[in-house]
């Protein structure tokens, strides 16, 4: 499969105020194929945000290479092609909205790219419809809820028609309702429009719903696989300070107590089914 992002032997160092060099990423390899929805997990300081910033040339690797859709991010001539290919959404929705009217903000990237006005109008309306914010197009950002603002920020990226969106903890500052609005939007963009998504998150239930989970620790990739596979390794995740989805956790503790349950449960409804099956079996045994 074709790779949209390919990081090869990437190392990144920065100098702190005392002039000491500090290595954040260490010889990291990661390929992200087109159309995938990938979650990146890791505790604070594991380098996951730093890695994300390499995906659209905000940061350039100190060693190794990052290719975005086949373009080396170190090529200054292709900078804006890279930024158009990989859009980025940040944590705080307030700090990424530039204009005072929703539709003007969504138009911002296209105006920067020098797109024809009629085409901007069309793409802005489309992007707003895709994230479900079309009715709010004339609102001022401060009249919107956190989740709505974040969807506007996503629309501002979607309007560029990127092949990939990198979201750096987009739900961290939102209430549960805002979180589910944003997650639904990301899912929809991935499924209906085939936009590759890289979701950096702290929420395990969000990661469980992705196609693939990458766990980072100390600037390296610790685990990489489908959610079921990764989350079944409860002890290994806990050792690097991460949680597992609540359903997995419950099953894990029950298994520790000796109950014969399936190991790879990650969703709540699955967990309920598994427990129901188990209880039914127990009853059948007791009847005999």
């Amino acid at each position: 499969m074709e790779q949209i992002i390919s990081a090869q032997q990437v190392t990144f160092c920065y100098q702190n105020d005392e002039g000491e060099s500090h290595e954040v990423l260490h010889l990291l390899d990661l390929d992200i194929p087109k159309g995938q929805m990938v979650a990146v997990l890791g505790h604070n300081g594991s380098g996951k945000s730093t890695l994300a910033k390499h995906f659209n040339a905000i940061l350039l690797p100190s060693g190794g290479t990052v290719y975005v859709d086949g373009i080396d991010t170190k090529d200054p001539q292709r900078l804006f092609d890279i930024r158009q290919t990989v859009g980025m959404v940040f944590q705080n929705p307030d700090n990424q909205i530039v204009a005072t009217i929703v539709e003007e903000d969504v138009a911002f990237a296209l105006e920067n790219m020098g797109v024809d006005p009629a085409e901007i109008r069309r793409r802005v309306d489309e992007a707003l419809q895709e994230v479900g914010m079309y009715e709010y197009r004339m609102h001022a950002p401060h009249q919107l809820s956190g989740g709505q603002k974040q969807r506007v920020a996503i629309a501002g990226i979607v309007a560029m028609r990127p092949k990939c969106i990198v979201l750096d903890e987009p739900t961290a500052m939102l209430d549960p309702r805002g979180r589910s609005e944003v997650m639904r939007t990301i899912r929809k963009l991935n499924e209906q429009f085939g936009i590759t998504s890289v979701l950096i998150t702290h929420y395990m239930d969000e990661a469980a719903r992705c196609d693939r989970v990458v766990v980072m620790d100390d600037g390296k990739i610790l685990m990489d696989g489908v959610p079921r596979e990764v989350f079944s390794q409860v002890e290994r995740l806990k050792s690097v300070g991460l949680d597992v989805p609540a359903a997995t956790e419950l099953i894990y503790h029950l298994r520790q107590k000796g109950y014969q349950l399936r190991q790879d449960v990650i969703f709540e409804d699955e967990c309920a089914e598994e427990l129901a099956r188990f209880l039914k079996e127990q009853n059948v045994d007791a009847d005999h």
């Binding site: 804006f80 530039v98 138009a107 901007i120």
Partner: protein, 270 residues
């Protein structure tokens, strides 16, 4: 309480004054100010004032809004009027010691007072019928020829836009910081002027730090959206001069012609 602050004084509406091209509105406002200072007879100044009153009527701006705009300049109006009244030579009609009021002085004082009030009311009409963001946009476009002289027109407009965008955000943040400091026992309401000014420091410092952090993140988000200054930038909304704008310009031309002619043929009525 801080939430009640409104930015600018835009008064939303659907009148043709609201729908006019903001560039034309700015130009016509300037024309109107020039006319006010050209009108030097009772008839012409009266015409200018009545004309403005009609425009307010059309825009459906309530009278108390007009008064609110004028209120801050009343001391200046009185001061100017007094100076004019007392220091202009001419036919003395009243005298007390070294102070004397002349007929000419009285007329000039009246004329100046009317001019200042009409000037403020006229420019307020522009801000009442045009939202700050549209106004910024119009100023950018009107000043765009200056960009050839390396004047940073786009950058200034961008700064204005971002400032307007972040005013509500920062007001909300100030509110939060004030509550947080009050919860820590900060006393913001009592004491003299110095003490109260000092009490603001624990509010301003966190506000500044957070504003810088926001600026940093915003710059990053703008870069991610391919921002590279004003060069090669297009705009979604194009301003177009319509029939309304041309009609308005013609009406202003008629008014200007009227003022100039009547100034010449009906001079000084008193």
């Amino acid at each position: 309480m801080l939430k009640d602050i409104t930015i600018g004084q835009y008064f939303p509406g659907q009148s043709f004054l609201h729908r006019m091209d903001p560039r034309m509105k700015i130009i016509l406002t300037i024309v109107y100010i020039v006319l006010l200072f050209m009108a030097s007879t009772l008839v012409t100044i009266g015409m200018s004032v009545v004309f403005l009153a009609v425009l307010y009527r059309i825009a459906k701006i309530p009278g108390k809004m007009v008064f609110r705009g004028i209120k801050p300049v009343i001391p200046i109006v009185i001061f100017t009027a007094l100076l004019n009244m007392l220091f202009i030579d001419g036919e003395v009609i009243w005298k007390l010691g070294f102070l004397s009021i002349t007929k000419e002085g009285l007329w000039t004082a009246f004329l100046m007072a009317v001019r200042i009030i009409a000037l403020i009311a006229g420019t307020s009409l522009l801000t009442y019928t045009t939202s700050p963001i549209v106004l910024t946009d119009a100023i950018e476009r009107l000043m765009s020829p200056l960009a050839k002289l390396k004047f940073p027109v786009h950058e200034l407009a961008m700064m204005m836009t971002i400032a307007l965008r972040f005013i509500p955000t920062l007001i909300e943040e100030t509110d939060k910081i004030m509550s947080a400091q009050k919860a820590r026992g900060a006393d913001l309401e009592s004491g003299g002027l110095m003490q109260r000014a000092r009490a603001l420091i624990p509010i301003l410092i966190p506000l500044f730090i957070s504003a810088f952090r926001r600026a940093d993140e915003l710059a990053l988000a703008m870069e991610c959206r391919c921002y590279r200054g004003g060069e090669g930038r297009t705009r979604m909304k194009q301003l177009k001069l319509g029939g309304v704008d041309i009609a308005a310009a013609l009406v202003f031309c008629a008014l200007a012609a009227g003022v100039i002619l009547l100034n010449l043929y009906l001079p000084m009525p008193f």
